[in-house]
């Protein structure tokens, strides 16, 4: 059962800290977004392996958009 990583707010993807296949610990940063000229660190809700990343740097996202999946 995959767990979703969703955008906490509207903004832009700045950089990916993890790639598909990487293992992550809970609360480890998966990617960095920019909102209101501020860096927002989006972290993993659970520990596991990154199964899928659905965004790339430069892309705009809305709040609650699916960014990545962890298994």
């Amino acid at each position: 059962m995959a767990t979703s990583v969703t955008a906490p707010m509207v903004g832009k993807i700045l950089k990916l800290e993890k790639q598909v296949g990487d293992t992550v610990q809970e609360d480890e940063v998966v990617l960095v977004m920019e909102a209101m000229k501020m860096e927002i660190f989006v972290s993993a809700p659970v520990s596991g392996t990154i199964k899928n990343i659905l965004v790339e740097p430069g892309q705009s996202v809305q709040a609650d958009d699916l960014l990545a999946e962890i298994e």
Binding site: T6, A7, P8, M9, V10, D27, A35, M36, K37, M38, I40, F41, S43, P45, Q62, A63, D64
Partner: protein, 378 residues
């Protein structure tokens, strides 16, 4: 002919030979403001012209603030008439986005709580012997909003303008240092970890257009003295949201704001002459301003706690700290503090709602005070 040359040469050093201790000290203060603005990027757009203005007016015999002095013209035509702050308000309106507030209207309450410091500090200033009008100008530092503070002070206590605006702008930049401690002190570890969901509610264009008109009419009818302030902010905002006067909106947020910011900063710096600025009152105003901002933060966080309790733990009380209108600094502080205690917590947008609420709150608080003063007949 023989004695003319030495006399003429002596005139060259006139500035130096007339330099008093006060002027020398104010030259250092000017340099300090320049240092804070350039090196530490504390509100450089204002501190740089203010600091340089302070240097210019403290050079003896230069006469920039004397009758016919060039800075005196700027001061009299722009500040005493309130034209500069009013023009800045149009620019602020054109830049401000009320979306976060419209998405989450109950958060505006935090913006109201963030103004408590204004009124408490006003009472404190009265107790310390300042006159009513001076106390109003000092309390307004607690609005944590430079242009509002300048507007109110230039109207009622222009002799305190330098102290009030320096306090307002320097404390605004110190928000990231001042707030976290108070936020920590007043909240429990459990409260600080509360995760608030993402904000997502579409706001129609009509709502965004009607909002500035409705606020202007309601607020101005309640507190008519505040109409210039609220009216100009909302005019700027209406130009932005209507989308039909792009050129006017662009000039307001860029050229007009830039030109006026330069002249405003320079004119404020020009009021920092040693004979006006080096007084006990200045020191007291700086202290009272600090108290005002601490009280604002505390009131916001405490109301946040109450809202957290009433919502059964759905609201993180930290966002209350963003109820002061230091925009967007205090919203950023809230996001950072939230992250520090819980990596899964993202409070930025909720804090932005409170922050925008605080901006409206401070303008309305100023409007109410102006109307009350008029009511008192002073």
């Amino acid at each position: 002919m023989d004695s003319a040359l030495p006399t003429a040469l002596r005139a060259l050093g006139l500035g130096l030979s007339n330099l008093g201790v006060g002027e020398a000290f104010m030259l250092l203060v000017g340099c300090l403001l320049l240092y804070l603005g350039i090196r530490h990027r504390f509100e450089p757009l204002l501190l740089l012209p203010i600091g340089f203005g302070a240097l210019l007016v403290n050079i003896p015999m230069a006469g920039l603030m004397e009758e016919d002095g060039v800075l005196r013209y700027f001061y009299e035509t722009g500040i005493l008439t309130e034209i500069f702050p009013i023009l800045i308000f149009i620019g602020i309106g054109a830049m401000i986005d009320f979306q976060p507030l419209l998405e989450n209207p109950k958060i505006i309450l935090l913006g109201a709580a963030g103004q408590c410091g204004i009124f408490l500090t006003l009472l404190l200033a009265l107790a310390l012997g300042f006159t009513q009008l001076e106390a109003v100008a000092i309390g307004i530092i607690g609005a944590c909003d430079g242009p509002t503070a300048i507007y109110v002070t230039s109207k009622y206590a222009p002799h305190l303008l330098a102290a009030v605006s320096v306090a307002a702008y320097s404390y605004m930049s110190l928000v990231p240092l001042l707030q976290p401690g108070i936020m920590r002190l007043l909240t429990t570890s459990k409260e600080r970890k509360i995760v608030m969901g993402a904000v997502r509610r579409p706001i129609s264009r009509t709502t965004k257009i009607v909002f500035p008109i409705a606020v202007t009419l309601t607020a101005s009818l309640i507190a008519p003295m505040g109409t210039p302030l609220i009216g100009m902010v909302m005019l700027g905002n209406l130009m932005k949201e209507s989308g039909v006067v792009e050129r006017l909106k662009n000039s307001s947020e860029n050229e007009i704001t830039n030109i006026v910011t330069l002249l405003l900063g320079l004119s404020i710096g020009a009021t920092m002459q040693a004979k006006n600025f080096l007084r006990w009152e200045t020191l007291m105003i700086l202290c009272l301003g600090l108290i005002a901002i601490i009280l604002d933060t505390a009131a916001g966080v405490l109301l946040g706690k109450l809202m957290s309790f009433l919502s059964r733990g759905k609201i993180n009380p930290l966002i209350g700290a963003a109820g002061i209108s230091a925009f967007p600094m205090s919203a950023r502080v809230v996001q950072m503090e939230g992250q520090r205690y819980n990596r899964k917590s993202h409070l930025l947008m909720h804090a932005m709602s409170a922050n925008v609420g605080g901006q409206i709150g401070s303008i309305i608080a100023a409007a109410i005070m102006l109307s009350l003063i008029q009511g008192l007949g002073t």
